[in-house]
């Protein structure tokens, strides 16, 4: 039973996951970057301008596939590369409890 719970906790995000900002996070834009403070663990996080843009897109629930589609239009990056980078970035945010999964 415990092992199952752990497996759910460790769920890795994929293109079909719908995610959004965890509201237990304080956020502030500084210049074109962003600083987050997680109220859960009291840790600060800094994001560069691309991270800042992704955080904006996370304001409302969004599927990761859709997010990658709009980022490849905005930035000069191939679809594959974008998918790799965005998935690993979002998984990092997820493991730090900065975003939550909204699909059931």
């Amino acid at each position: 039973m415990k092992i199952n719970l752990l497996a759910i906790d460790m769920k890795i995000l994929d293109l079909n996951s719908t995610v959004t900002q965890n509201k237990e996070t304080l956020s502030s834009a500084i210049d074109d970057e962003r600083v987050l403070l997680s109220i859960i663990n009291n840790k600060y996080y800094g994001m560069d301008s691309v991270g800042n843009r992704i955080w904006d897109l996370l304001a409302e629930p969004i599927s990761i596939g859709n997010m990658i589609a709009s980022l490849t239009k905005e930035y000069d990056i191939s679809g594959d590369e974008c998918q790799n980078d965005v998935l690993s970035f979002l998984n990092e945010l997820y493991s730090e409890n900065l975003i939550i999964i909204t699909d059931v």
């Binding site: 304080l26 502030s28 500084i30 962003r34 403070l37 800094g46």
Partner: protein
């Protein structure tokens, strides 16, 4: 009017004579942009005429029945903070309770005018009280020119006080040495108010700056120096914030910070430890205040050499910052 003579007389009284006075002797001071009514004599603070409703009241009290302080004494944890207040226990010196952004109660077995009691009162207790009032206390020195000021922040041993002393000797009035208070207007405009005109400086620095310390006690690791040249203004706009740290390089480095790096260095140099800020329930207001500062202030980092051999170069550079339009 200050009845300080009376109060000193009371605290120095022989054990066998009871004080008889119809009034509690209070002094009135102005510091951190706030008015203070105090039963303790605080000679480092500027005196003012009595006011009917002071922002801060400091009173002597019996805290021996305070359950949290009793626990602190037993467990040797020296502070405890929550949304209601802040308890501080300093063994063989005093117990303090700070609440409501208004009241500090002091229970001391020592002479209430003892320098050690005052250091804890004007340091951690005042830092917490300021935080309770949603004013931001930065661990920083601050000097001014007209109605503008420059903040010099950094960890202990960074060289803040040495720089502030050197700049003060060049003619820049001192606003603060240890706790620099930043008030925010309703439109979120930050202002620095003078703390009090005293600098705490190591003996080496005092010698290097040729500050006369002959009248000061020799057994203290740091000298307390009263500053004559202080600002005539209350509200000061922030021109630039400097963060100074020693490095092991043999060359002075100065860089202007951008983005999240500004926020990081600000948060690291707030006066109250982050765990205590959380306990006091002030995480959000401090985050907002630091973001405002990071967004509107110029922030520069100085990495100085360990020997501080370019002190005069840094002093000139900081002074020139006031000239930049």
């Amino acid at each position: 009017m200050c009845k300080s003579n009376l109060s000193v007389a009371l605290s120095k009284r022989p054990e066998n004579i009871l004080p008889m006075s119809p009034f509690k002797p209070f002094c009135f001071y102005s510091a951190y942009g706030l008015t203070i009514k105090s039963e303790l004599v605080l000679p480092e603070l500027p005196l003012i005429q009595p006011v009917s409703k002071a922002d801060i009241t400091i009173s002597l009290a019996d805290l021996s029945n305070d359950s949290i302080l009793k626990k602190l004494q037993k467990n040797k944890y020296y502070w405890h903070g929550n949304k209601n207040g802040f308890h501080l226990h300093i063994a063989e010196t005093a117990d303090f309770y700070v609440t409501n952004g208004h009241t500090i109660l002091v229970d001391t077995i020592a002479d209430p005018s003892d320098q050690n009691v005052r250091a804890h009162l004007l340091g951690p207790c005042m830092g917490v009280l300021i935080q309770q009032r949603d004013i931001l206390p930065l661990h920083a020195s601050c000097i001014s020119k007209g109605n503008e000021c420059i903040i010099i922040s950094g960890q202990s041993g960074g060289g803040k006080s040495t720089l502030a002393m050197a700049l003060n000797k060049k003619g820049y009035p001192l606003l603060s040495d240890d706790i620099c208070v930043i008030h925010f207007s309703k439109k979120n405009q930050p202002y620095v108010y003078p703390s009090f005109p005293q600098i705490k400086i190591g003996a080496d620095s005092a010698n290097a700056l040729r500050v006369d310390t002959s009248s000061l006690s020799a057994n203290q690791p740091k000298h307390l120096i009263q500053i004559e040249n202080r600002s005539k203004n209350q509200k000061h706009n922030i021109k630039t914030m400097f963060f100074i740290e020693p490095s092991n390089k043999n060359k002075l480095e100065i860089e202007e910070l951008q983005g999240s790096a500004k926020m990081g260095i600000l948060v690291k140099n707030t006066y109250t430890p982050s765990k205590l800020i959380t306990n006091l329930g002030k995480t959000k207001s401090q985050f907002t205040q630091c973001s405002i500062l990071a967004n509107i202030c110029k922030v520069k980092r100085i990495c100085r050499t360990e020997s501080f051999n370019n002190l005069s170069e840094i002093v000139t550079m900081i002074g020139d910052e006031f000239l930049i339009v």
